[in-house]
Amino acid sequence: MNRAESLSLLPLELRGVTFRHRGQTLLQPLDLRLERNGKTMIMGPNGAGKSLLMRICHGLLRPTGGSVRWAGNGATAETIRRRQAMVFQRPVMLRRSALANVRYALAVQGVSRGERRWRADEAVERFGLQSIAHRPARVLSGGEQQRLALARAWALRPEILFMDEPTSALDPAAIKAVEEAVDTFHGEGTRIVMTTHDLGQARRLADDVIFLVDGRLVERAPVREFFEHPYSREAAAFVQGDLVW
């Protein structure tokens, strides 16, 4: 491991980040700092810009204004990319076996063939997928696919994991598995950033909450404070389950 790789990517610093699309401002100028540790939930009503913000952080979208800066002096764009992972609402699996999907992700990162093999096996085992490791990934159930997506992300040993509503299409058992996985990642020192609509889930998992409404960052607070003493009127209404506009 060379020196550049041993330095942490975090904190992540967003300064004056905006996003405009077809004349509409989807994200107002926004400053945000994500520290080295913790589990951050991005919350807010539909269309608030939660997924958008996450995609900007992850580098899938380029902001139309402002800057996104990772620490990790001198880290190349490729190194930065390799040390993040993202789990989507609907996992996209390639038309090959579950295990081969994990190996593929490792191969893309340039992991040697031998190492790919054991790291993929380890990830599949870690997430309890051994019995379906050799089945085609795309015929697995939604919950199994999401666990596989988590195993694939875990195999990459990311420093930060983004999750975009990872449980919104799942049944309770599968939700539980995902939440346990979040703890697994967290326990191993991976920074978690996640969007969710589920207030209970946010209470269970979050250390702090980023609250967006209409593309504005309205509130950022530790989880207890957010739920018990929300600062803004919108957040107060939101945690009570009212509609926010």
Binding site: L60, M86, P91, R95
Partner: protein, 231 residues
Amino acid sequence: MDNAFQAAFQLIVAMDPVLIGIVTLSLQVSLTAVAIASVIALPLGAAIALWQFPGRGLVVVVLNALMGLPPVVAGLMVYLMLSRAGPLGQFGLLFTPTAMVIAQIVLILPIVAALSRQVIEELWGEYREQLQSLGVSRLRAIPTLLWDARFSLITVVLAGFGRASAEVGAVLIVGGNISGVTRVMTTAIALETSKGNLPLALGLGIILLLLVASVNAVAYIIGEAAKRRLG
């Protein structure tokens, strides 16, 4: 007419050497053309699907238009290239099977490229964010997407094969329909029909139909089975 059918079946059953020779050459020419065209056109179609560049829309329109390129026009173009006075005249390829392969490549390359562009673009829409998140470059995404679209692409390649084996204009112009050298099924059918030799024409017609039908049937079965199995 009944006699012609009977005679045609006799030719097929008896494995008439003239008939077999024509069928073999047809397959050689069309399969070679499809193979070469696919090796070029599949990655080309994928690249057009993945990259944004100035004039991309024009490229897509031209490719789509070329799918309907009349075979005789393709034949004429290749003829002009390969004829003695043409830029490639020195190689003496005119009226050889190689010339026929080239003409068929010109015909099918746009088909395979345009259709695979559509298939890959659709798949890229689905895969894009996930692959980008994994750090897959566009160049690296091409083989991944081609492999994952393999069942749809089999159909695309077969569309090319169907076009190649059924067309008559291009191979007639650049091949010359020389008996035993460049005579393929379609040119033979045209010639034998005009000569009134219906049994051979019919026999070849039946084989041609069976061939195209069975290739498509096999591809359909493979595709359906694989889709069910792999999702």
